[in-house]
Subunit: 516 residues, 2 copies
């Protein structure tokens, strides 16, 4: 160590002497500088190793290839065996068919341009409840061009607390609500906050949304995977989780956080009350903070969504011993999913339950370094959790638009599910919620060998073949994690129509024939 | 280490046995669980030490106190020696007097609610260039509710590249432009990307905007402060920088990045062409990436702003030796400052000059983990760099509004500067740009002793006294860094009117009398 330093020092002191000379010569002649030679450019080996090791498959290799194909189609439309790339790789509804809800956008237009409120001709064309909501928001924020409080605008936090109270039947406090730039920002704050050295463990479901493994990698901490049970509709086995925790502890790792994605991404599963209660039992026992990623809470096609907060309050009420008093929960929601699909607005919130005030203060400081989330996104959170009420002018249209979004999603979910189960070499659990199918693929040995030859995982090879033959862009299961020796892809059910699903079916039989 | 692990394991295996038992009993009876006892809550000592050590004074102690006083005034308006809190602590123009530019907001209203475009009554009230710009943006983004490409929407990147080309007289490429959620996000990405272990050094000016020290702390790397020369209008001494670099290298630290804030925050200084050229000489020599934080490039009241990019291209053109070929620069801009003041929209960009494509790819991956910046903020970037042109319908009003914003800022800057220099015990450099004065305070010994007694830095004590007596909220100089033994506060010149400045003057003579 000492000798290395000495080498660096000696070498650079030499440089200094010449640089100092140059520095003084500089103003008279710039040309003489070159004599001492410049330093090379930075390369990836100079960069943060945790950034380098982080992966984010949703925008990885296959989507990048799809972008190339789009460009190729634009310049030569008949050069590929399909006319159009189908972006089934990302839950981005308004990139595809889904229309924004008019109520949201009308209010947002008025808060962007408050001069419209005093233009009688214009304002008479707006529903009265839209005008009222715009005025309420403007009264709180003054201007959407001003930074808000780092925790978020008060009117939206109040509406969120009211929404949660009504949803769960237990009180929620606006002081416990943090507005964030989508749920992704909340996840990143929480994982960063809890990352107390490289032995910090985060329990994450496998398969998972890759933001979690990426954030864990960025913070140089340890993912502790627990496997969802595909055969039991991707359910959670809390006994397995206890085993994972014990093994981690025996290796000197401190499990600090348990992530639950409910409804599941990419699985589409919905967890039952009892399953969540068991997770809280584990959390209480080991002092593990639970992150409940509930961004798909409105995307429920079969069964019922019960929030983690409600389950926690239920068991805290039932159990009088105080066993659950210390449980800490952060539950997340977003304007990007549900029936809103407003990804580009970057709105979201987290509710913090049972956290020590000093821990909340550190979270607030972390948020304040980034100043605040976009104020229009924060306003949208307020509209999402407090949509038009029965009897208000916007109510009927809003309901009608929500029904259409819902029905389109439910119809396509069913179509996709049925199609996968009709395909040779594919099977799929019936999605209960969210926006995704995660079909299991029985890849033939020949396909696996070919993938190996091309230096790809077998699921990546499959996803690439699917893309190259049909234009359908999915994400390989390895991007989310899957049991060793099993192969999946994630597809959204957002692309319009059903033609692409039929194309996939045709591709599947061709693929199976070719590699059998 | 081994023995500690053994202890943890044994202890927790005990817990497991009972927990496993509970787990099985759970469904029949929840009440029995308590017997084994819950784990305690997390406290700050369990959290990420780098988050704990990070500081962000702009929203620190004094602003927090100001929020308390606001609440007190709301419930009891005559309980304090002032009627109103004056937020001079943060560059948040629209929180105060500054009105948004109508052109921006009209376009944003139309892209939020594109149905307005097909409503003839309404759309006839909008200027034609506003309609055209809204259509152009919608054509690119499809919907502002869709996630964009992680690098940002193409139309805004194209406009930014055109703006830079015109500003500097050198070409700029849209592929080198990254849109970010304000410049803060760009700074955080860059510092995270470059943080290759705890021996990575970041050269930062002192005083600095505290985002830099916060981001360095969060990444557990080393700040390498270089002092701005207050007596020379806060100029940069590149010989001092070379000294700092050499000292760091001799301690085994790798200086990887040099931050320049121009126009300066909190200093208000503007760097000359020659000063920037000297910094690039140092950067070329040591392979140091330059971050040019140029968010105040429109806020110029005296002298001339020259961009770092232009200076770099100038010296690369003049010097044919190739000495400057490897220089790497990231220059930042934002919609939050300038004449726009659209902080709440979280819009910004960085231009990457000379970076290796593999390094850019890692940056793009980092950005893609957070998906994208708010699409309305990205749209606003496009409007900021490409405002109405002469002859277009919005041009005259836009110019008039810009002039008003500019004149208000320039007038208040002058008033503040003159006032500080009239005060006993205060002096201030004449601000050339940005939104801040950073007056130097000659605090009496008695005040310093009183601060010590109250366990505060002397400048914090002064800022608190100023707040408690006048309602004026500033940030103590220690939040930005200052030469040992000197004391400053940062004040914006955004609060309307001049009464508050007169109040400050009165406070100053009272304070000096009391502590002399």
């Amino acid at each position: 160590m000492l000798s290395l330093r000495t080498v660096i020092t000696t070498k650079n002191l030499g440089l200094t002497r010449s640089l100092m000379g140059i520095s003084m010569r500089y103003s008279s002649t710039l040309k003489n500088v070159a004599a001492t030679g410049p330093a090379p450019k930075l390369t990836t080996s100079d960069l943060n190793p945790y950034v380098r090791s982080a992966k984010y498959a949703v925008r990885g290799r296959i989507p990048a290839k799809a972008e190339e194909l789009k460009k190729q189609l634009a310049s030569d439309p008949s050069s590929l065996p399909f006319k159009k790339v189908i972006n089934a790789n990302i839950g981005n509804p308004q990139q595809l068919d889904q229309q924004p809800l008019s109520f949201y956008r009308r209010v947002l237009a008025l808060i962007e341009d408050p001069e419209l409120l005093s233009n009688k001709t214009v304002i008479s064309t707006f529903p009265k409840d839209v005008v009222k909501r715009a005025q309420e928001l403007l009264e709180c924020v003054k201007s959407v061009g001003a930074y808000s409080n780092s925790q978020g605008i008060s009117v939206a936090r109040k509406h969120v607390a009211e929404y949660i109270s009504k949803r769960d039947g237990y009180p929620s406090n606006a002081d416990d609500i943090f507005l964030t730039a989508g749920a992704s920002t909340a996840v990143q704050y929480l994982i960063q906050l809890l990352s107390n050295g490289p032995k910090t463990g985060f329990l994450i479901p496998i398969p998972q949304y890759p933001l979690y493994t990426a954030a864990i990698a960025l913070n140089n901490t340890v993912p502790l995977p627990y496997y969802l049970q595909e055969e039991q509709d991707w359910s959670v086995d809390s006994d397995e989780i206890v085993g994972v925790i014990e093994k981690a502890i025996s290796q000197g790792i401190k499990p600090r956080c348990l992530v639950v994605i409910n409804p599941g991404n990419p699985t589409g599963a919905i967890l039952k009350h009892e399953a969540l209660a068991k997770l809280f039992q584990v959390a209480a026992k080991y002092g593990i903070l639970v992150i409940a990623d509930e961004v798909y809470q409105e995307n429920v096609y079969r069964g019922e969504f019960v929030s983690a907060k409600k389950v926690l309050r239920d068991i805290q009420t039932t159990d009088k011993s105080g066993f659950y008093d210390n449980v800490q929960l952060a539950s997340l929601h977003s304007t990007s999913k549900g029936l809103s699909g407003e990804c580009g607005h970057r709105g979201g919130y987290m509710e913090l339950v049972g956290l020590d005030p000093s821990v909340k203060a550190e979270l607030l400081k972390l948020a304040s370094i980034s100043l605040c989330g976009p104020v229009t996104g924060q306003s949208l959170v307020s509209l999402m959790v407090n949509p038009p009420h029965k009897g208000e002018e916007s109510y009927d249209l809003d309901q009608q638009q929500r029904r259409k979004v819902y029905n389109d999603l439910a119809t396509r979910a069913k179509k996709l599910y049925e199609s996968f189960n009709e395909m040779e070499g594919a099977s799929c659990r019936n999605p209960m919620g969210a926006m995704y199918c995660f079909p299991k693929l029985e890849l033939p040995e020949k396909a696996i060998a070919e993938a190996k030859k091309q230096n790809m995982t077998p699921d990546t090879f499959y996803a690439e073949q699917l893309l190259l033959n049909t234009g359908i862009c999915t994400v390989p299961g390895s991007g989310f994690g899957q049991k060793e020796g099993t192969y999946h892809v994630r597809t959204t059910f957002l692309p319009p129509g059903t033609q692409w699903v039929d194309d996939w079916k045709k591709f599947q039989s061709k693929f199976m024939k070719e590699f059998s």
